[in-house]
């Protein structure tokens, strides 16, 4: 780690304080929403205010992007900071409310605020049945989320990041539990928060560890200190940092072992799932690792661990996703799976690939969720893919069907879609790695890609293609409407889905367009041989430095030339090969095969002959050594149950025992026992007090006699 680390030193630029509005505006809009709630406003004002605030934030970020010249630090106000003693390096703690703006920050903020605005517009229609009720609460949550997410990304230190980190957790808690009278929603919200807290502890400890080693938690100073190496560095301390930070990232981004909260979080309203649990919040883990990328090389196996965890999560979630019937759950598992890819990318050394995949994924997954939401909205909460079919033939649903088709194509990484390039960037890096286990992970990722294509199109072929057939769900249009609920129960046959309005359709179209547009950097790179814009953005931030280390650790990790070049840019990857072909060509072939193969299988089982899927299942079930697999996949490999019996139940029993012990042993036996000691002593002497006057007199006389006897004995002895 020598002069290679060339993160430009941040310039202090107070004049850029207006960028802080991107944090302030959502906060203000949350205040307005809270006021609307308190005043019981009965119109769409909260949505309008939120959308406006987010749109302005987006404009601000775009302006900041065009004004960007190099990393800057923008002090706003002092939050938690003080120094003691002489105020030396390890005698101060600075965590101010300041911004750190570099290309990575801008990259992230661009899609966070952009998607935030779009999804708010969508939600303004989606949630309209709650106007005057939970409407303000919903947009309060959204505003708080955007505030926290902006603080997370824009903050110049890890305490700000932690603030945002927990803040998005809070927003997630409030929004997942939006329908608070549904116990499952409450439980899901709780689970999400608590599982995130486990990760947060790792993050907090990692922050302390960084502070203890480098004496600061501000990015710019950390990177500067990194160049000199840690100062109070005990080896053990330094090498444990990446693992602690990793835990935080795994919690927020739903990776093994902390992934089980994300599917449950689908209890929240669909725009929330799209915005928080697909596009933005769950990528915070990727952001954390990308932001502190150099520190993940403090231990040689840290990145490898990330790669392994990411790839295993991708595979596991894909297998579960294959056997789910709830559309949103399928997409939730696909989110986990795609996040796994991002971690794989980070782990094998292409932070560019990971960050690019974050961007493409944000668009197509938000799109997919919003189409699912449109269906849910129109079909009274129906999300079971066995009960919906052929929607593309239904008037008013064409846009939904075809935008969903676009989303599915992108998710299955169909050749020459944006996601194809971003996924291939990751897989190429893995497959051309010098490390054998990374190459294995690459093949595993390819296999997962095929599974992804299968389960994605399983949804589309079931829901949008085939003969028209549908059943309404058992919820009112938008959750609370008692009348609709009643109607749905009474006459399911007469169910009339209501087609989405302009806000939903418009947003879907814009998102589909966006999914196309995010492919532009890759097209430019492939066809015009220009530098990929995303790579440009990443290359000039802290995220790229690690993968740019040509020597030392980098080569040890097998981060060869491909890391520099990027898979789709200059095409100088002549040494590494895939299946004997040039790496690019090889991967294009293999990747396309995996994707198209998956789609074809899905087409066969779920469109051409839907019966054969059941037949296959039945055939599997007849073999005892295979029959359990689909069931286990349906039941999410029993991970929730495992956690329940491994952690929750023992702890719960332990707590019961402690509670009993506290009441009956510590308090009952020890404390009360101590208090009873004087009582017991008194009981010994109690018979002496008979109440008879003479008794007392005898005692007194006897006492006097005894004293006299003793005195005279002493006296007599003195005489002798």
């Amino acid at each position: 780690m020598s002069g290679e680390l060339s993160i430009p030193q941040a310039v202090i630029a107070p004049e850029l304080a207006w960028v802080g509005l991107a944090i302030l505006l959502p906060l203000l809009s949350s205040v307005v929403c809270a006021l609307c709630g308190a005043l019981r406003v009965k119109n769409k004002l909260p949505a309008i205010v939120t959308a406006l605030a987010l749109a302005i934030s987006f404009v601000i970020i775009v302006r900041a992007y065009f004004a960007y010249a190099g990393p800057v630090e923008v002090p706003i106000f002092q939050w938690m900071s003080f120094e003691w003693g002489s105020g030396g390096r390890f005698q101060s703690f600075t965590a101010n409310c300041s911004l750190y703006i570099d290309s990575l920050t801008l990259y992230w903020m661009l899609f966070v605020t952009g998607l935030g605005t779009l999804i708010t517009v969508y939600a303004s229609e989606y949630m309209e049945s709650d106007v005057g009720g939970g409407y303000s609460r919903f947009f309060f949550g959204i505003s708080i989320f955007l505030f926290a997410m902006s603080a997370l990304v824009l903050g110049d230190n890890l305490a700000m990041l932690y603030l945002g980190w927990e803040g998005v957790g809070l927003a997630s808690y409030l929004l997942v539990g939006y329908n608070y009278d549904r116990p499952s929603a409450v439980a899901a919200a709780k689970k999400a928060f608590i599982m995130n807290r486990i990760g947060d502890l790792g993050l907090a400890l990692g922050i302390f560890m960084l502070w203890a080693n480098y004496g600061t938690i501000q990015y710019s100073e950390l990177f500067a200190a990194m160049k000199n190496g840690g100062q109070t560095a005990v080896d053990w301390h330094l090498s444990v940092i990446p693992f602690l930070l990793m835990l935080g990232a795994f919690g927020k981004s739903a990776q093994i072992p902390l992934f089980t909260w994300l599917p449950d979080a689908m209890e929240g309203p669909t725009p929330v799932s799209a915005l928080i649990h697909a596009a933005t919040m769950v990528t915070a883990g990727v952001y954390l690792i990308a932001r502190l990328y150099p520190f993940f090389e403090l231990h040689p196996e840290a990145l490898a661990t990330i790669a392994w965890i990411g790839c295993s999560t991708a595979l596991l979630a894909a297998t579960i996703g294959m056997m789910q019937y709830d559309i949103k759950r399928v997409f939730a598992y696909s989110t986990i799976s795609q996040l796994g890819y991002m971690f794989l990318g980070l782990g094998v050394g292409t932070s560019f690939g990971a960050c690019y995949h974050v961007l493409t994924h944000a668009f197509f997954k938000a799109l997919l969720f919003l189409t699912a939401g449109a269906i849910m909205h129109g079909f009274a909460g129906q999300l079971d893919l066995r009960k919906l079919s052929g929607l593309r033939h239904l008037a008013g649903w064409r846009i939904v069907s075809w935008t969903m088709f676009v989303g599915c194509l992108w998710l299955s990484a169909f050749p020459y879609t944006a996601a194809f390039f971003s996924k291939d960037a990751i897989l190429l890096q893995a497959l051309t790695s010098a490390r054998a286990d990374f190459r294995f992970l690459g093949w595993m990722g390819l296999f997962t890609a095929a599974l992804t294509a299968y389960y994605t199109f399983r949804v589309w072929f079931r829901v949008c293609a085939g003969p028209l057939h549908f059943e309404g769900g058992n919820e009112g249009h938008g959750d609370h409407d008692e009348h609709d609920k009643h109607a749905a129960h009474a006459a399911p046959a007469a169910f009339h889905p209501h087609a989405p309005g302009w806000a939903i359709k418009g947003v879907l179209l814009i998102l589909a367009l966006g999914a196309l547009v995010v492919g532009v950097p890759a097209y430019k790179a492939v066809f015009l041989h220009e530098t990929n814009w995303v790579q440009e953005m990443i290359a000039h931030s802290s995220a790229y430095q690690g993968s740019g280390l040509g020597s030392g650790l980098g080569s040890g990790l097998g981060l060869g030339d491909a890391g520099h070049a990027g898979p789709v840019s200059h095409g100088d990857a002549h040494t590494p090969t895939v299946l004997g072909m040039d790496a690019h060509t090889g991967l294009t072939v293999v990747g396309s095969t995996a994707s198209i193969g998956g789609i074809l299988v899905a087409w066969f089982f779920h469109l051409r002959s839907r019966k054969s899927a059941d037949q296959l299942r039945a055939a599997l079930a007849r073999r005892w050594w295979l029959g359990w697999i689909p069931t286990a996949m349906e039941n999410k490999w029993y991970v929730d149950e495992l956690y329940h019996y491994l952690f929750r139940l023992p702890l719960w029993f332990g707590s019961q025992i402690l509670s009993f012990g506290d009441k009956h042993f510590l308090d009952g036996v020890l404390v009360d026992g101590m208090a009873k000691l004087p009582l017991a002593l008194g009981r010994v002497f109690r018979p002496l007090y008979s109440g008879a006057l003479q008794g007392y007199a005898v005692t007194m006389a006897g006492g006097v006699a005894l004293v006299l006897a003793w005195v005279s004995w002493v006296w007599l002895r003195g005489m002798h």
Partner: protein
Amino acid sequence: MNDALSSAFTIIAPAQISIALAVSAILFGLGLIGFLCRRNMIIMFLCTELMFQGAALAMVAFARMRMDVSGQVFVIFILTVAAAEAALALGLVVLLYRRRETLNSEVWSELGES
């Protein structure tokens, strides 16, 4: 006058004091035994008076022996207090008698713990 005074306050020889002490001990002992054995509250009260007088006698005797009036001063105090006490105690006895129609002290044992 001086003579009369000196004859009245003849110093008792140490040998002679034993007689006075013996009388006082007998008085005290009688009082004590009476207090312990009798149940009649008035008798018991009288017995305490007897014990008082035993103690007072001893004091007077010592005062004579030492030619120190403080002993006699004490005795006068004791007498005064005893008189006040008698008034109070007899009043209490009357009160107690009215409550239980008996002078037996054994009926008053509520303070007993067991």
